[in-house]
Symmetry: C2
């Protein structure tokens, strides 16, 4: 079975907007065991659109098209599909009523132009859009079954999983079961992970292994299809356990959760609270932590003390200490962590002070140097690290992730200790 994707729209064609839909669709369709052969993109040009639809109708069995379903005149997918299939457009009164109801629910009146969204090629199956005005549709042209979806990613994703994936599953001859696992890791690059897991394809030949680098974390993705559901679950479990053994604490989570959310869970589990003191990470640790809903249950404060005076005033770092060691030093980081822990009356505190660059580096403390302190109920520890990534934004990210990772490992040790008691 040959499958392709087609993104439409001048914004994507001209480069004003990056096409994220095609990657998303490819991943989801590949999870069904179907390989996407090509991505295609054309602009809002009726001739070009019809021409590529006809090519696809000859070349592929399943085609997923995004974009061109809006109410304006440059939304051409419905017209182009009808012309490529050689059928007229027909008003669907049921779809029109739904669009009208959508506007009523938003207490707005429907503009005349939205009527266009209820006209579909004759013979098309309408695909409902539960969160927007643009319904999609599916239509057979030549050898291809086409699924036309909106370009707005949230609408496209919902309709892909609810309307398209079940229909493609029905087309597959044997009933298959699918399982995907996302494992987030920190501390090893993609090639180092590949090296550590190099026996995987021999041990688990039925499971596809993929890596996705999302600096500074790397996601490992496992997926598998099998006609025997019990065998599938068992093999996936064995594979996950094997990876757990190989990677140990490099694994941040088995559910794909990012570092800050995992740290949040561990803090919640132990009814612990956290205070942060940030210099070089400039608020990024706090930003990551507070992206998680409910983070106010454990995250108390971050003192982003960029100026030395603020380190003294807010955190109580001694001026003599700053004079003796400078802002970037293990002792300064310790004093920052101790200071913010006391200030927030928190169970744990982390502190960062370093050189994100591009300026401020020296031979002794080059750009990429960071001192991180971790203060817990019983002790405070501090270490210096050097990261070779060079760029300011990358440095902020790796510093922040490393600080959260130290806390994560400490919380895991604590958890183990309590279990063993």
């Amino acid at each position: 079975m040959i499958a392709e994707v087609l993104a439409t729209g001048d914004e994507i064609r001209s480069g004003a907007l990056i096409d994220t839909n095609s990657a998303y669709i490819s991943e989801k369709i590949e999870e069904l065991g179907i390989k996407i052969t090509r991505h295609n993109c054309v602009g809002d040009d009726e001739k070009e659109l019809i021409s590529i639809l006809l090519e696809l109708a000859e070349r592929a069995d399943i085609i997923i098209v995004t974009g061109g379903l809006g109410p304006t005149l440059d939304d051409l997918s419905r017209e182009a599909a009808a012309q490529a299939a050689g059928v007229p457009l027909k008003l669907d009164t049921k779809a029109l009523k739904k669009i009208e109801r959508f506007f009523v629910s938003k207490q707005k009146s429907m503009p005349e132009s939205n009527i266009r969204q209820a006209r579909f090629p004759k013979g098309a199956t309408i695909l409902e859009n539960p969160i927007g005005t643009a319904p999609g549709f599916s239509l057979i042209i030549g050898r291809g079954t086409f699924f036309f979806l909106p370009g707005v990613p949230t609408e496209m994703r919902k309709m892909l999983s609810e309307q398209v994936v079940p229909r493609i599953r029905q087309k597959l001859k044997e009933p298959y079961y699918y399982k995907t696992e996302n494992i987030s890791t920190f501390g090893l690059g993609e090639s180092a992970l590949e090296e550590k897991l190099r026996e995987f394809p021999i041990l688990f030949p039925d499971i596809k292994l993929g890596f996705r680098a999302g600096f500074p974390e790397v996601q490992i993705k496992l997926y598998q299809k099998n006609s025997d559901e019990a065998a599938l679950v068992k093999e996936q479990e064995e594979a996950t356990n094997w990876i757990k053994e190989k990677l140990g604490h490099k694994i941040v989570s088995l559910t794909g959760q990012p570092m800050a959310a995992v740290v949040g869970d561990l803090l919640l589990q132990q009814s612990a609270t956290l205070a942060v003191a940030e210099s070089c990470t400039g608020g990024l640790i706090a930003d990551w932590l507070t992206d998680r809903p409910g983070s106010s249950d454990y995250f108390l404060l971050s003192a982003v003390t960029y100026a030395n005076a603020a380190k003294q005033e807010v955190l109580g770092v001694e001026p003599t200490l700053l004079e003796k060691w400078g802002a970037v030093h293990e002792e300064t980081a310790k004093a920052m962590a101790t200071g913010v822990k006391k200030l927030g009356n928190a169970t744990y505190a982390i502190a960062t002070t370093g050189i994100a660059g591009p300026a401020g580096g020296s031979l002794e403390k080059p750009v990429g140097t960071v001192c991180i302190a971790l203060a817990g109920p019983a002790k405070v520890e501090s270490r210096r690290y050097f990261f070779p990534f060079g760029k300011r934004r990358l440095n902020k990210k790796i510093f922040a992730a490393q600080a959260l990772n130290l806390l994560r490992l400490e919380l895991l040790r604590e958890l183990k200790k309590n279990h063993n008691r």
Copy 2:
């Protein structure tokens, strides 16, 4: 002249990696006055690659291909190009020497496999890669001139501008001059901007106008080509002035700089410093501010006081005030701004407290409500806003941008006052 792009590689085809190269190339080529008609993508499959190269050789005049130039066996662009052109591969000793020198400069020995990178289709022009091992090449197949570039974005971008763009310019019949302008705006959506500037295409028919939404800022892009350089500069200036008049302070910068950098410039200009108190924005304002190198010259601290106790302890917000008004209130925001301004001994302070969601909303203060206070040398002001974006991350961003925007407008007023004195 018909131009297309082709991205190659299994990572992009399978969706593991999002293709940003095609959008970048499309923008750069469109700046030359050449419209990219289609984007294409295939995986690391020799048959598929040859087949699409032959299609492109019939359909397009200029084709820019990315990826497949690495040293491993799944890097197939050189082989596929040779086969599509019907020519053999030839070792280029000059290119091989350069690759060897690259490894010497990194104090490594060259792996055997890298020899592959010095074999090119007979008749190809080699395109130098100044920052990586993979040289590119250009080759004529059918009606098409193909440019093969590496997939690594930094290498591709450098080679596109240094090696490809000058060669395409030579192909254009008349010598043209080009000018691009990026204007960042805040406070109006894309359609509202389009509406405000609807007379633009009539007044400046030679300038192409584009919009790029990068929530919460929207970039306006102007570009133009002209055989007369003086006329080009003059018209672009007139167009920019016209837009300035239409949009006024909705324009954040005429150079595409983001809000936090513009605020930084204004603070520097006035030798002023800034302290921030963040509740609902959770460190995002500080993170944005500190992404700019040299921000330590004006940014002193941000107190990310998520817990009420931290608002009291760190910022000195009165418990009675919190009891009376709650955490999300104009008076609380005022007390936070006043507190952090005093703590940091800063010229200006901004404070945010609101409900980012998904939980915590009420009828009176729904998710999307934020109170922002601005404290300056003479006064402190506070206002409540409601934003209808719903999602937590979007709320954090719009709250942070709105707070920085209030400061930007105040700094502009101050600048004007000083000029008038």
